[in-house]
Symmetry: C2
Subunit: 335 residues, 2 copies
DNA sequence: CTGAAAGCGCTTACAG
DNA sequence: CTGAAAGCGCTTACAG
């Protein structure tokens, strides 16, 4: 016994006007607020009328939904971004359709699904914005999109492929400042999957450059599995850096299993792929983090996408400063 | 320079048939697979034609999207559920629109937003299914919905308000077995917001009953802020239970700050509001958890909702057995 | 097995 | 300031 749903026609009849007039009232263009308008408004409220987006979409050929493509949502970092995106989109009266990727293969599948639903634009975090079939598809289709947590693509000059991300150079500087400030001179980098490849690459380049400029030894890179070996011998790092908080937590466990005290024997700092900010104090209370401003990234990404959809002047990418969360795991080396 | 999008009419013209025929091919009802069908299929592929959901929706008055309403997505538990739902919905060719709630107030707002988008049904996790304005609204609108992680509503007999959740009785039993199996006789319950009130209530009732039946002292309930006092004096619990993994992590920190060793001085076990299962080994390696089968809950919830939308016979609620993740924090009390 | 036609709910020029 | 009419892309009886 479903309720019949009121249509614009019902409203028109009840208000004693034409559907055109109702449409104008709904969309706020047309008659100045005379008695007619308020009468129509009253009927709309009375009938609980909601404009059917399908009817609308048929004209514009686009739904009023934004598509969001993210890697595994199980990662709190991406879940936090989604929360921010949803909240921001809501502010523009836009719905959010979600599709999760994984490998590059399913990134395409995710985009394809969203395309089938005719989202008016997409926000994506991809494995590597530099080489992404999913983005190529989007370019081909001419659907506006904004990257989140990836770096801008080269083609971004033309206005497509803009990105909103943490500034990788600033993050690298922050790391060096944090390490030297606490007396560390050698940093090891444990590979972590949380960061998009393009971002991580740029970050690593800058990091190496800054270290060299300060006469510090280059980064020692290795996998979690090579941890033991990497910590042995002279020249071993006194600080370990890894891309995301999830890997960091795993790393802390590895270190404990190896009998290394943190930060007594070895310090740890995580970056970028953060846990959801509001949970961080609970989930990772002691972990030092160079964090992404997830909320701001979500806000700006939606803002840019809305502008792109509206066909405004080509929007420019945004790099936001990272945030430093002090944590005990960073430790302090006595000279 | 957007590509013009192919319509069903374009396909019809190119294939030299009528739109009706194309429609039948797309929806797989009508002509048996003659030459016509394959010709139409070829043209569809060639043109990259995708049926416009808006055109479709206009007939059915419903989009082919499922709405999902969850409390803060920042909680990994809910993010995990969303991931499962998205994946399951995808299997049915359904898109997922997400809206986040929070207080009961914004639960309504979330439902309202999804309603405006004409989702064909919703899956929700609400604060308290027993008293929810959001669910009342759904009942009023006659939109099918399924609860996830909440318990079935009374009205569920009529087929509305069915739920998919972890079996609270089984979870309570599991807790008692785990505690007695490890030598614990007194359990304290730290209030945690992760669990929906209706579920937590039922769980607590059963827990008390089972403890009584086994001649064990009743649960000591208190807030995190009262932790110190609760642990002092005789009759203090040797095991702490809290609803979710996030609170559990915070609790572990509190205990450390109080100088209590886990599990040497005091044991900890978490329940229901789990971190995303695939991250658990990294984020909470040592934590003992009575976990919800998030993936299965997502699968079943979508399955039930799809059935409800199709107007199948009233579907029944599903209670799934919890999973026990052993962890060092549970400890063992020597007799 | 196939096609012509109506209609889903809305917006948008175009007349008044 | 307002209304009649066309049309967005699709599905669905209804004829052939």
């Amino acid at each position: 016994m479903k309720r019949t749903i009121a249509t614009i026609r019902d409203v028109a009849v009840h208000a004693g006007v034409s559907v055109s007039t109702v449409s104008r009232v709904i969309n706020g263009r047309g008659p100045t607020h005379t008695e007619t308008t308020s009468r129509v408004r009253a009927v709309i409220a009375e009938l609980g009328f909601r404009p059917n987006p399908a009817g609308r979409a048929l004209k514009s050929a686009r739904s009023d939904c934004l598509g969001v493509v993210l890697p595994a949502l199980s990662d709190p970092c991406h879940a936090g971004t989604l929360a921010a995106l949803e909240s921001a989109a809501c502010g523009y009266g836009r719905g959010v359709m979600i599709a999760c990727g994984g490998g590059d293969d399913s990134e395409c599948a995710a985009v394809e699904r969203l395309l089938a639903h005719r989202v008016s634009g997409m926000i994506l975090t991809v494995c590597d914005a530099g080489r992404s079939d999913a983005l190529a598809m989007l370019d081909r289709e001419g659907v506006p999109y904004v990257l989140a947590h990836n770096l801008p693509r080269r083609s971004a000059e033309s206005g497509v492929g803009v990105a909103v991300a943490t500034d990788p150079d600033a993050a690298a500087l922050l790391l060096v400042d944090a390490m030297t400030g606490h007396g560390h001179r050698v940093v090891g980098n444990v590979a972590s999957p949380e960061q998009p490849a393009d971002w991580a690459c740029r970050f690593a380049d800058t990091l190496d450059r800054v270290l060299r400029a300060r006469d510090l030894p280059p980064v020692l890179r290795f996998d979690r599995s090579a941890l033991r070996a990497a910590l042995a011998g002279p020249g071993a790092p006194s600080l370990l850096w890894c891309g995301g908080a999830v890997t960091a937590q795993a790393l802390l466990r590895d270190l404990r299993d190896l009998g290394r005290m943190v930060p007594g024997d070895i310090a740890v700092i995580a970056g970028e792929g953060v846990v959801a900010p509001d949970l961080a104090p609970d989930l990772a209370p002691d972990l030092a983090v160079i964090a992404s401003p997830t909320g701001a990234i979500g806000d700006r990404a939606v803002e840019l996408l809305i502008a792109a959809i509206a066909g405004d002047d080509p929007v420019a990418s945004v790099l936001l400063p990272p945030q430093f969360w002090p944590g005990q795991t960073l430790g302090t080396v006595r000279r």
